[in-house]
């Protein structure tokens, strides 16, 4: 049985429909990369899974249970954590406090302050600093660390590389094996196709709220992805 199974998902923002009958499944312990251009509905998909936007139609089931009607704060104790678009680090809290807030659900698991600091040296050096005074890369690393503090079974990563220098992106992605190595299932949304192809077991490309291509990275050609990505 899949850990996450989304079927027939529709999401609307007012009159605008962002997602059309989307199906997504992720097996436990695997990494799925959802790629696509701006406005393809990638972030909306993550928000719907985390409970930040309501689904107008379709079901979202997690570990066999329908979670589509639960508010976001009730999905965290089940083991779903989202690193949101724009990182959303709490600016008036220190980094350590940000991580501790992330541990609020008190789920048991491998992650704690020490482990997060080990996985993200970028965060470890800044633990006493206020969230407002971090660089983009430090914020991103802290946001992933904060999500890990809830010991999720499913980690949702939104636009990890957006606005970051390539060297910083490398540093952050270097921590991913440590996360998946714990058996954590990861759903990563990316605009950076190369990066996501490297880490994912499976890739799903969205265009205007629909799936246009999916498969294992090794089975997909660069041309296939380019045409799916741009819809040409």
């Amino acid at each position: 049985m899949s850990l996450l199974s989304v079927s027939g998902l529709d999401v609307h923002y007012g009159d605008f429909q962002a997602i059309y009958g989307l199906d997504v499944t992720v097996e436990e312990g695997k990494t799925l990369a959802v790629i696509g251009a701006n406005g393809a509905g990638k972030s909306t998909l993550l928000k719907a899974i985390a409970g930040q936007v309501p689904a107008t139609n379709g079901t979202i089931s997690f570990d066999g249970a329908d979670i589509g009607r639960l508010p976001s704060y009730k999905r965290v104790p089940l083991g779903i954590a989202l690193t949101p678009e724009g990182r959303r680090i709490f600016p008036s809290l220190t980094i350590e406090e940000n991580l501790l807030v992330g541990a609020h659900a008190k789920r048991k698991g491998p992650w704690n302050l020490t482990k997060v600091y080990d996985a993200f040296p970028l965060v470890s050096d800044r633990r006493a600093r206020l969230g407002a005074n971090l660089s983009g890369g430090e914020q991103q690393a802290a946001a992933i660390g904060r999500a890990l503090m809830s010991n999720p079974r499913l980690l949702l990563l939104d636009e990890v590389s957006l606005g970051l220098a390539p060297v910083v992106i490398e540093q952050i992605y270097a921590a991913l094996p440590a996360i998946t190595g714990q058996g954590t299932t990861v759903l990563v949304v990316e605009q950076d196709v190369n990066q996501s192809m490297r880490v994912a077991d499976r890739v799903q490309c969205l265009l205007e709220g629909r799936t246009v291509l999916e498969g294992a990275p090794a089975d997909l050609t660069r041309d296939q992805i380019a045409s799916a990505y741009f819809g040409i």
């Binding site: 508010p71 704060y73 954590a81 709490f90 008036s92 807030v101 609020h104």
Partner: protein
């Protein structure tokens, strides 16, 4: 000597204002709610204390032990019943709801207790004083009030900076939507914040009632003093509220020393001067969001 006396009495009075303003500051800091019912709730607490004292014959001090949790429960219910419903309706909705609440509380108090002035019995304590030197002596009740004000501010500050719930309150203040992604129901955090805030209001109301006379309409003036203390100190800063309460208390006491009818006026003038020249207050928050 009279000036030193005015200064000392002003600082003690400031402790009461700080105590009164602590809850207002907390609610604004966490939820950006300007609780216009704050003064009316303080007066409500005094009347609840009075009712308990009259019904049971226990001392006003012992009644505090009952009034504080009662007011905290009132706060919890008010937040879930009224304020949480207004939060998605824009900034004006909680303001109007609080204003309406203050009118309702005031009218209900008048209905039940009439408009007569009351006070809480304190025995000999209301006139007891400690002689320091020459003309300078400190009233025992104002001193206890002052100590309570400082302790409440100190305790709240400790709670907010150290306790897990305090951390969640600061996080919810920064970004309520993201707090929900941490598995925290921000509305529950708000309800607990308001419960804590109204617990301090309960204490403040009891001290108000022991200090002098009150009637159902007394809350209006108290709201203004509390509000001025919060603004002078800097919005959302508890230490600032303590400083703001003292600045206001000292201004009023020195004003009264110049001319007994100037006290309140000088307090308002000092508030306006600070608002004009330092609108962020004396101790503004380090991070503005």
């Amino acid at each position: 000597m009279v000036w030193i006396n005015a200064l000392v009495q002003g600082i003690l009075l400031g402790g009461l204002y700080a105590l009164l303003a602590a809850g207002l500051s907390l609610m604004f800091g966490v939820m950006r709610i300007v609780n216009l019912a704050h003064g009316a709730l303080a007066v409500l607490a005094a009347y609840i204390g009075l009712a308990i004292v009259q019904a049971t014959g226990i001392s006003s001090w012992l009644a505090i032990v009952a009034v504080v949790p009662i007011m905290a429960a009132v706060g919890y219910v008010l937040q879930w019943g009224i304020f949480n419903r207004t939060l998605s309706q824009g900034g004006l909705a909680p303001l109007l709801a609080a204003f309406g609440l203050s009118v309702v509380i005031t009218q209900l108090l008048q209905l039940k207790f009439t408009a007569d002035s009351r006070s809480l019995p304190t025995g000999d304590l209301s006139i007891a004083s400690i002689h320091i030197t020459g003309d300078l002596s400190i009233g025992v009740l104002p001193l206890i009030t002052f100590v309570a004000g400082v302790l409440v501010i100190f305790g709240l500050q400790m709670f907010i900076s150290k306790a897990p719930l305090g951390r969640a309150m600061r996080a919810a203040s920064d970004d309520p939507a993201t707090v929900r992604l941490m598995g925290i129901d921000n509305r529950q955090v708000y309800a607990l914040s308001t419960a804590i805030a109204l617990g301090t209001v309960g204490l403040a109301g009891m001290f108000l009632g022991m200090r002098g006379n009150f009637d159902p309409y007394y809350g209006g003036a108290m709201l203004i003093f509390a509000f001025e203390a919060v603004i002078i100190g800097g919005l959302g800063s508890l230490w600032g509220t303590l400083v703001g309460g003292m600045v206001l208390g000292v201004a009023q006491a020195i004003g009264s020393q110049i001319n007994p009818s100037y006290g309140i006026l000088i307090g308002h003038l000092v508030f306006l001067v600070i608002l004009a020249f330092r609108p962020t207050g004396l101790l503004p928050k380090a991070v503005t969001t």
